[in-house]
Amino acid sequence: MFKLKHIDDLEALSSRLRQKREEFMAVITMCAGTGCQASGARVVVDALDKEMREKGLLKKVRLLVTGCHGFCEQGPIMVIEPGNLFYCHVRPEDINEIVSETIQEGNIVERLLYTDPVSGEKISTERDIPFYRNQQRILLTQNKIVDPRSIEDYIATGGYLSLAKVLAQNTPEAVVVEITASGLRGRGGGGFPTGRKWSLCRAASGDEKYVICNADEGDPGAYMDRSVLEGNPHLVLEGMLIGAWAIGAQQGYVYVRNEYPLAVEHIRLAVKQARQLGLLGDNILGSELCFDVEIARGGGAFVCGESTALMASLEGKVGEPRPKDVHTVEDGLWHKPTCLNNVETWANVPLIIKNGADWYAAQGTEGSKGTKIFALTGKVKNTGLVEVPFGTPLRTIIYDIGGGAPDGGEVKAVQTGGPSGGCLPVDKFDLPVDFDTLAEAGSMVGSGGMVVMDQRTCMVDVAKYFLTFLQDESCGKCVPCRIGIDRMLEIVTDISEGRGRPEQLELLEDLAETVCETSLCALGKTAPNPVLSTLRYFRDEYEAHIEDKRCPAGVCRELIEYVIDAQKCKGCGSCAETCSHGAIKGEEKQPYMIDPQLCRRCGMCIDVCKLEAIKVA
């Protein structure tokens, strides 16, 4: 393979590749991100490839296999251009009809269209689907136009031209100024101004400097970094290259979760391709920039999302954080100045350079610029990745984009910011989403997880869930985090199992405050947030557990019973057959009974009962 030796080489290659792509009559885009692959996208792609090959269409119609489009619930997803036709839940047996009807005849296959769960209407184009229509997809839209396994695709869409632009200007200081002016803040959770971090790292003394991409997305319920790294790895690499140039770093690392096999595979391939083309290595595009990237797989420790723990892990050590009295921009990896940013932050960089800081700063709010990707999940009709400008109200995200609660439920709260964040009730849904507003309300943007909860979600159980998670993930180095979380979990478990006492709530708040104030790193400092926010907004639920020994949501198993409605039960016996605990007895054609002593409230009987005769009391 030839190497790009000059900026002109890149520009020529880019226009050549673009022309080649414009020759196609149509493009069929298939999402093959982790979500769609889990729903069977790979076999659909294979079937499509075979069908088009047999019909001799591959020269005329381009089959583009991309990363995540974000609407994972509807997968496998297919978009056909021109026309923006959107097909969902596509299966291999649909391929023949799609090719013969839609591609060859121009007709729409009605049954594959998306049905809006709110209006019940069928919608044929992607852009008209409310889930997409109400978003502003600057980063995610890039996922749809490139094959993550092809550097040529990325270059054809203008990839690496932002790097070429900063190299041509030859003033690294100007890049730092531009990023500072854009108002970009770190997307990993902290929200630290990116430009300031770069400027500090640039000013730090020493010739040897590092940049790191934090792709150790540990927050449960957040997967935007996975989608960006998996769907557009070169965008992240280009961001890192620009950062390295601005700061004066020679070596970069991508620290990626091993639980994301596709992301690991794609970023490794991207690095290999970039090296082959000379976009990584010495004197990149004929400039003075010498930079290379290594991939490190995370060991599956949540605490390694914390910058100093991540750096310890990169050095091959146990991932324990250290005090940050001297910041990592001065004393980071191997005690050298290090600039660590998250995947989404790096991915924004080439776009800011391309379109200018003013363009970027025009979106968002006073203190939080640009767009942010949120993972909208839980009890909501349209689950998936949502990209909106900062300042968008929670209500717009949950109802206009998410469509509200499914199955006739009612949304009760939204949990934002993962284990460091909190739960906000419906009356806070008019709050604009930005770093500062959510923090004031007792939660945080965090890395962008948004888990919607309805009346069947118990807030005490949610607090218990996060404490269990944090107890497991606390590295144990400092006492407040290690023991404080333990004690808080004991209390919340007592409450959820019906042993709670009223005075424990005050003790819980006391403990939470102590853990917040005295823990070493951000994991411990923010660990009490899920407890504090649920206590603040859903105290009545804690009180119901303590005083009435009742779980209003019907979740806490020690406080609920399963009963069979004798009016509805026809005595078919399928519940008794499925029960693994032998808790259901009865005679055929007579109403069955559940023995509360044996019942483990696993829900299997509710699952099989066609008459909906089993209720939670």
Binding site: T34, Y223, E259, R297, G299, G316, G378, G603, D607
Partner: protein, 158 residues
């Protein structure tokens, strides 16, 4: 243990202590677990004290110190999966196989592990069996999944 395989894992990484985690990742991948013998070899070859190798192997969830079963069942316990009932699914798996989380059945067939998030939140609750994702799971569907694997195994034997 095949020493050739370990040779390949160590190639180009000898005397580089910072490669410890990457080496252990590959040992885990190649052998399914990290044995005492592997830890000793890695310690010698990378120049990292054995206690440090052992500490790292214990600290990170990615590493198993016991051999794993022929079938690996991973239950996602992320928030999105949790609010849709993933704890019931994990409990059913452990009950059905009569083990604790992280353990392997006595016949060496199944290992069950929980993971904090697989990033497939829209499809929750999610489990992964031998690399294949199963979405929108329920305790009943899980029971059927385990039964189908057992049936297939029996079919193979006959």
């Amino acid at each position: 243990m095949s020493s050739n395989l370990l040779e390949t894992v160590l190639e180009g990484r000898r005397s580089q202590p910072q490669q410890l985690i990457e080496v252990l990742q590959d040992v885990q991948r190649s052998f399914g677990y990290i044995s005492q013998e592997a830890m000793e070899t890695v310690s010698n070859e990378l120049g990292v004290p054995l206690i440090e190798v052992s500490r790292v192997a214990h600290f990170y969830k990615a590493f198993s110190l016991e051999p794993r079963g022929r079938h690996m069942l991973t239950v996602c316990m992320g928030t999105a999966c949790h609010v849709r009932g993933s704890d019931l699914i994990l409990e059913e798996a452990l009950r059905e196989l009569d083990i604790h989380a992280g353990e392997t059945t006595s016949d060496g067939e199944f290992t069950v592990e929980s993971v904090n998030c697989l990033g497939a939140c829209a499809l929750g609750p999610v489990v992964v069996l031998d690399g294949t994702y199963y979405d929108h799971m329920s305790p009943r569907k899980l029971k059927e999944l385990i039964e189908s694997v057992r049936k297939a195994e029996k079919g193979d034997e006959n």
